[in-house]
Amino acid sequence: MAASIPFRSTSSYSTLFTRLANLKVRRRSFAHTSKALCASSEETPPSSSNSDGRDPFPVFVDNKVQHLLSNITGFDILKIAGPHKKHLEKPKYRLLTDAELKGEMTKARERLSKRLQIPPYMNPRKPNLTPLAVDPDLAQFDTSNYVFTDVTFGVKDRDRTVVIREADGTLRIAPWDVRDRMNQIYNPREGKEYLKPQMFDEQNLERMISEKKYVYILDRACCQFEPDDPDFIRTTHRVYRAIDSAGDHDDLRSTRHFGSLAFYLVWHKTADSLLLDMLNRDLSSDAADLVRLYGILHPQSACAGVLGQLSPDSGSTAVVQVYIDTSSTLTSELQLALQAMDDAGKGHRSGLNK
């Protein structure tokens, strides 16, 4: 434990410190609270945006869902590697045999596939206001609050214990913004700023969206915020809605954000234009995966019922047809696109870079 308080040369310093931080006595309660912090997203009531009031996080981390999401993301290795702004450096050259080249490519694919880890889809976190202890003897000890941060080596930011002794003698778990700031002070992360960048203010965000800098906004949001930060959720959802209305789904393909986008749209039952985009691009297996995802996320829907009766080896066209028949809002357009794809005889080709 280290405390962010100035050094005092009093003999009773250690006693006072112990009392302020309340270490020995409350160790158990800390353990309890830190667990509570981790599990808070499961306990908190779901966001109001979803009508059936479920928590999306357990569904999101389900293996089946993750598999489907990573399938539809695509893997265009040049786009993932993407030209990044860097200092000028000379390229390196090697002479490789065919076997060596294959090995190098496999290694690079493995390395770059880590870039596609989908950021968790969570409900916004709730403040924990219950005091851990109230010590009236310490009231008016100082005019400022004292923040105590656990800086033990190896503690993860989400598990870190940060408590605050208020001026009236109450000891409570630090609010989220204080926790974030303490984490950034003691365990700074590259790309994250101590204060929230003004880019995420409503006005600036709209401007950047109109300039179609989707990937930049989403990347920066991932850097700056925790996935259950209300700011993260507000920002990302706004970008997803903008992409869906502008039809720019392809911008996010082969990035880590495509899975989140698809999950958001399917969770809110607004994935029709994404499905249309997939059909128009002849990504039939992606379209089928999206429909299967719909079945998993909404098990009570008519679509899920029909999908369950379908034989597992039925083609992607049949799967998409089920969705069009049962749950779609753009029925005629989807039907036309599906027919066009079938007619062109491209129905069997899967994703662009699979």
Partner: protein, 428 residues
């Protein structure tokens, strides 16, 4: 004083100027008195007028400036003599810039019985036929981008595409002068005979280029001759991704040595000005060249560079020679292995090449000699000089302050000017 003088004058029946001057009076007063007193005396002041104006005519004046004596002309004088200028060109007698009419002088004094006063003449009168003389600038200004390396000299300037041959027009070609100098040789009859020698390079910016040297008694003729000769000596150079060379190489022509280095896109041309011009003509955008030896010998520099480019080995040739895939790793693409050439036969040999055998950077230097690259101490400038070191420490102390202040301004945390002034006041 004046009264006493009058008395003196009255006593003398015939006063003379000399007697007046001899009296010890102030000269000024004296002359005033003379004007008054000596009216009956016949005396006219003869004054020498030094001005030639009014004595000689304009023609005589012009002759003095422009003419050269016969003997002088034989010696070659008067070759650059001035020409006569009509100074009255564009002017009309009696009409000035202001256009005023003076009745009785430049116009009629009376209209009927009414006397006219000075008035403005309408400017709608027919404008003078010949415009006034404008002094021609001896050296008309050349736009900055059309100038050469230096001043008003030819080297570095563009002289347009080569002349068409039959029906073939050299579209997209440009020619630049690299060298333009006077050369001479001795003849029995004429002595030192001067000629102009011009070295030009022509090309289309897409890999096609040629150079030539030509001599002629006149400069323009030499340039034209060289340009058209260069157009008949075109060579095609393969470029890597249309922006640079395939590999580093060194090339030597007599005492001129060039160390050419391949550079990534966006680096630009860092080399001898002549090589920069040649690269622009060929279409090479990124290059670093270290020139050693006689770098002022433009013809050798040009020859060496053209030969070096011609002797390059493309990646495909390398792949075929060693029977291996040539793979490129670029930093901006996350060091992703990108094959740039595969062996033409379709598959590579089995045994891999060891790293010691293959060092792409230094592979093409001949005789195993590689250029010496000295490690540069980034602190060299500061550590050697105590004054610089002191300066460095000052800069080092504040090195993050500008950025920090910018961040404070962005987040609205920077105190206002009034606040800062308040803080700077001493505590009481």
């Amino acid at each position: 004083m004046a009264m006493s003088l009058l008395r003196v004058l009255a006593q003398n029946a015939k006063p003379t100027i000399s007697s007046i001057v001899s009296s010890n009076l102030q000269r000024e007063t004296c002359i005033k008195c003379v004007a008054i007193v000596t009216t009956p005396i016949s005396w006219s002041a003869v004054r020498y007028n030094p001005s030639f104006a009014g004595k000689v005519t304009a023609n005589q004046l012009w002759d003095g400036v422009t003419s050269v004596s016969n003997a002088g002309r034989k010696r070659g004088r008067g070759r650059n003599a001035k020409k006569r200028i009509d100074l009255n060109r564009g002017q009309q007698l009696g009409i000035g810039k202001s256009g005023l009419v003076y009745p009785g002088l430049t116009g009629p004094a009376l209209v009927g019985k009414k006397m006219l006063s000075i008035s403005d003449q309408k400017k709608s009168k027919a404008p003078s036929e010949a415009p006034p003389v404008e002094k021609k600038s001896r050296f008309p200004e050349i736009p900055a981008l059309q100038r050469g390396y230096s001043g008003r000299k030819f080297p570095g300037t563009s002289i347009g595409p080569p002349d068409p041959i039959n029906d073939y027009e050299f579209e997209g070609f440009d020619t630049r002068v690299l060298e333009y100098k006077m050369v001479s040789h001795m003849t029995g009859n004429l002595g030192r005979k001067m000629r102009v020698s011009a070295l030009v390079v022509t090309g289309n910016g897409k890999g096609l280029a040629g150079f030539a040297v030509a001599k002629a008694p006149k400069g323009q003729a030499a340039l034209r001759k060289a340009k058209n000769m260069a157009a008949q000596r075109l060579q095609y150079f393969e470029r890597y991704n249309d922006h640079t060379v395939f590999h580093n190489f060194a090339v030597k022509e007599h005492k001129t040595t060039l160390f050419v280095q391949k550079m990534p896109k966006g680096h630009g041309l860092v080399c001898h000005r002549v090589l920069q011009t040649i690269c622009q003509i060929i279409g090479i955008e990124d290059l670093h060249v270290k020139t050693e030896g006689r770098t002022g010998n433009i013809q050798n520099v040009t020859k060496a560079f053209f030969r070096g480019l011609m002797e390059q080995e493309t990646h495909q040739e390398l792949a075929d020679r060693v029977q291996l895939n040539v793979v490129e790793y670029r930093p901006e693409l996350e060091w992703l292995p990108l094959p740039v050439a595969n062996p033409t036969c379709g598959k590579s040999r089995d045994e891999p090449i060891t790293e010691e055998d293959f060092d792409f950077e230094n592979m093409y230097y001949q005789d195993g000699k590689i250029p010496l690259k000295k490690e540069k101490d980034p602190m060299y400038r500061y550590t050697k000089d105590p004054v610089q070191w002191k300066k460095f420490l000052q800069i080092h102390k504040d090195r993050n302050q500008i950025m920090a202040r910018n961040m404070r301004i962005i987040h609205g945390l920077e105190p206002s000017k009034e606040d800062i002034k308040l803080r700077q006041k001493p505590l009481k």
